[in-house]
């Protein structure tokens, strides 16, 4: 029976994991992921899942065990945040290079130092070159929906890449929201069974995973990963469409909210997209029409969709919840600018780096960004390309 429940982000992630019922879960506790794995442990203790849970002694071992399990031919998952992801960094790259469809719950939290347990996107952004598909969830419902779709996206034959489903630490992970949960059977049907092409446990066809590549083959193996990411763009769309049939909720590479032809746009990922939606509704009541471009998929970067969405814009503000020290702006900003480089008309794009270490962002601040965009449109001038929103000077 499909049900409506009140759950926090961590709880709904655990619920999705219960229904996905992976063969192996290897995880290590780190705030604010802890509730997810604790909740899942209860499922294991109550015999509600088939999962072999490996309570590893570090995140590095968590990802290593996931690699072993997936290579063996099992469905493997993990969950982590911030420095946990950082500790796994070496193996995260290896997991993608071995083309293992591991799914990770990533509760976005700031990377140390100084140590901070609150939300920002420095952890997932730090892994953006790793070869993992990255999906950002705005709210609890999206966590549930993204995790279920992630299994299908990862295991698709033309993709075979691991997927991290990110959501904001504490803001979403520990905030209770209304969610719609399918019956177990529906999820099972949607994700199907995992059929590994070359499992280690197939003794009759011994394979070797992880050889030494000298300079004569490494490049070719990396080129294969590039192709997989290209294929992922279509697969993410396709799985999203299928999921819409099932749930009535549509999913695509990006989401647009507000007046479709509004020419003042804010680009953002994660829970802030929800805050922006609130601001857009308030502005609409004041007769001001603006738009949100929500980055659901950051990797692969949906360049074409973004161009389509922004090519008529008069001014764009890209919000980054992470800094890329020494770069000419935040990570999403730089890639959006690059996506628009081919456009004949020069579109002014500005950057707002915000919310680092859990610094709060509210509707009033969003409205100010739209005001700034209005100024840019009117005057054609940009005062500061990169802004730091909410820091005390």
């Amino acid at each position: 029976m499909e049900k409506i429940a009140a759950m926090t982000g961590d709880e709904v992630a655990a619920e999705a994991m219960r229904q996905i019922n992976p063969d192996v879960l290897a995880a290590y506790p780190i705030t604010p992921q802890t509730e997810t794995v604790q909740r899942f442990s209860e499922f294991v203790a109550d015999g509600l899942v088939n999962t072999e849970m490996i309570r590893v002694e570090s995140e590095h071992s968590a990802m290593s065990a996931c690699v072993g399990a997936a290579a063996a031919g099992a469905r493997a998952m993990t969950a982590t945040s911030a420095n946990g992801l950082a500790l796994m960094w070496e193996i995260v790259y290896i997991a993608a290079s071995l083309r293992l469809p591991i799914v990770m719950v990533l509760v976005n939290r700031a990377l140390s130092g100084p140590i901070n347990i609150h939300c920002d996107h420095s952890d997932s952004m730090g892994a953006r070159d790793s070869g993992w598909i990255q999906l950002y969830s705005e709210n609890c419902q999206e966590i549930y929906d993204n995790l279920i779709q992630a299994v299908r996206i990862a295991e698709e034959g033309s993709v075979l890449l691991p997927v991290m489903v990110a959501f904001d630490g504490f803001i979403i992970s520990h905030g209770t929201e209304r969610v719609e949960i399918f019956e177990d059977e529906k999820v099972r049907e949607f994700i199907g069974g995992f059929k590994s092409e070359h499992p280690l446990l197939n003794i009759d066809k011994p394979v070797t995973y992880g050889p030494l590549d000298l300079y004569d083959y490494y490049f070719e193996h990396k080129r294969q990963q590039v192709e997989a990411m290209k294929n992922a763009l279509d697969v993410i769309k396709k799985v999203g469409q299928e999921y819409a049939q099932l749930s009535g909720r549509s999913y695509d590479l990006i989401e647009e909210f507000g007046s479709p032809d509004a020419d003042l746009v804010i680009v953002a990922a994660g829970s802030t997209a929800g805050t922006i939606k609130g601001a857009i509704q308030e502005l609409k009541e004041e007769g001001i029409n603006v738009k949100l471009l929500k980055m659901r998929t950051f990797r692969p970067f949906p360049q074409e969709k973004i161009r389509e969405s922004l090519k008529k814009a008069s001014a764009v503000a890209v919000m980054d919840r992470s800094a890329s020290f020494g770069a000419a702006g935040g990570p999403i900003f730089l890639e959006i600018r690059s996506a628009l480089f081919e456009e004949e008309r020069k579109i002014p794009v500005v950057n707002y780096i915000y919310g680092l270490g859990g610094r709060n962002i509210g509707i009033e601040q969003i409205k100010k960004i739209y005001q700034n965009l209005t100024q840019i449109k009117k005057t054609g001038k940009v005062k500061n390309v990169v802004n730091y929103l909410g820091v005390r000077e």
Binding site: S64, G68, L201
Partner: protein
């Protein structure tokens, strides 16, 4: 234990054509261990190191069993994942065969960078056999010292110099004892020079219902500086001089599985066979030699006490 003649009929699970050095101890150990593994299929994991690199240079692999290499420090956690997947799929009725899991890890990837993953896997009780082929240094990257390098050994990061003439100044870690302290069903030390003893231990280890560990001395012609044809002689000398005692700990009970007795030799015989110790034989270094002999004698005594063969 089947005879060599019987064993010679079995399929070699490590093919020729690997690129380990002539006379390398590691492939001898792998061959002996896999022959002993009998007819139960195995999945092998190796951390980065000589064995892994020498046997899997793309597009070639010398392994005729399923094999995985992940990274340097995580062989034990990688194999934990494989073994857990096996148990999970077996429980769900998706696999019905008996499969065993073996890691062949060098001392670098086991004593040092890999010790956390090893300890975690041992504590969790995964059913796998961890074989450490101990060549007493980071050989694959150029003979750098590891915590397994013996005191007094030349290595490229503990060379013999004017200010420090000893080579490595620290005594080696006793990983076998550290593993035994995890209270796993089977722990042992072996040497490829005593193949019957080694193979018996592998069989016992694979039969253990839980984690098992065998530390096997793996002489290295390049790093230990001796002619390639001496590998087995040195593997025997290590045992005969007491440097590398052959023993096992089965459910906590210690047993010395080979006693040199009349064949017992002084430690100096082991040291002088290898160029990495030649500085110790110089005049003025007699004190170090005495201390090293004392260390070996002390460890032997402690082992005999644990095995119940001597009063404290």
């Amino acid at each position: 234990m089947p005879s060599l003649k019987d064993l010679s009929k079995k399929e070699e699970l490590l093919s020729s054509g690997h690129r380990l050095c002539p006379g390398c101890g590691a492939p001898i150990i792998v061959r002996q261990a896999l022959l002993a593994a009998s007819d139960t299929p195995v999945v092998v994991c190796c951390p980065t190191g000589c064995l892994e690199v020498g046997t899997t240079i793309y597009p070639y692999t010398a392994w005729k069993v399923p094999f995985i290499h992940n990274a340097f420090e995580n062989a034990a956690s990688t194999l934990s994942g494989v073994e857990s997947a096996y148990r999970s799929l077996k429980k769900q009725g998706k696999i019905d065969r008996e499969i065993r899991f073996i890691t062949f890890g060098g001392d670098g990837g086991t004593y040092d960078i890999g010790i956390q993953a090893l300890s975690g896997a041992l504590e969790r009780g995964h059913r796998f056999l961890y074989i450490c082929y101990d060549n007493e240094a980071y050989m694959n990257t150029g003979i750098q010292r590891s915590s397994a390098s013996p005191r007094g050994a030349f290595t490229t990061t503990s060379p013999v110099g004017k200010a420090i003439p000893e080579g490595k100044t620290e005594s080696r870690k006793d990983l076998t004892q550290i593993v035994a302290a995890h209270n796993i069903p089977y722990v042992a030390q072996a040497s490829p020079g005593y193949y019957n003893d080694l193979m018996k231990k592998v069989q016992k280890a694979l039969n253990a219902n839980g984690p098992s560990f065998i530390n096997i001395l793996s002489p290295c012609p390049r790093g230990w500086r001796y002619p390639a044809d001496q590998t087995i002689e040195i593997a025997k000398l290590a045992v005969l001089t007491g440097f590398w005692p052959l023993y096992e700990v089965e459910n906590g009970k210690y047993k010395i599985t080979y006693k040199p007795r009349k064949k017992k030799k002084p430690l100096k015989d082991f040291l002088k066979a290898q160029g990495r110790f030649k500085h110790l034989l110089r005049e003025g270094n007699e004190r170090i030699l005495e201390e090293l002999q004392k260390e070996v004698d002390q460890k032997e005594k402690e082992l005999m006490i644990r095995a119940g063969e001597e009063e404290k």
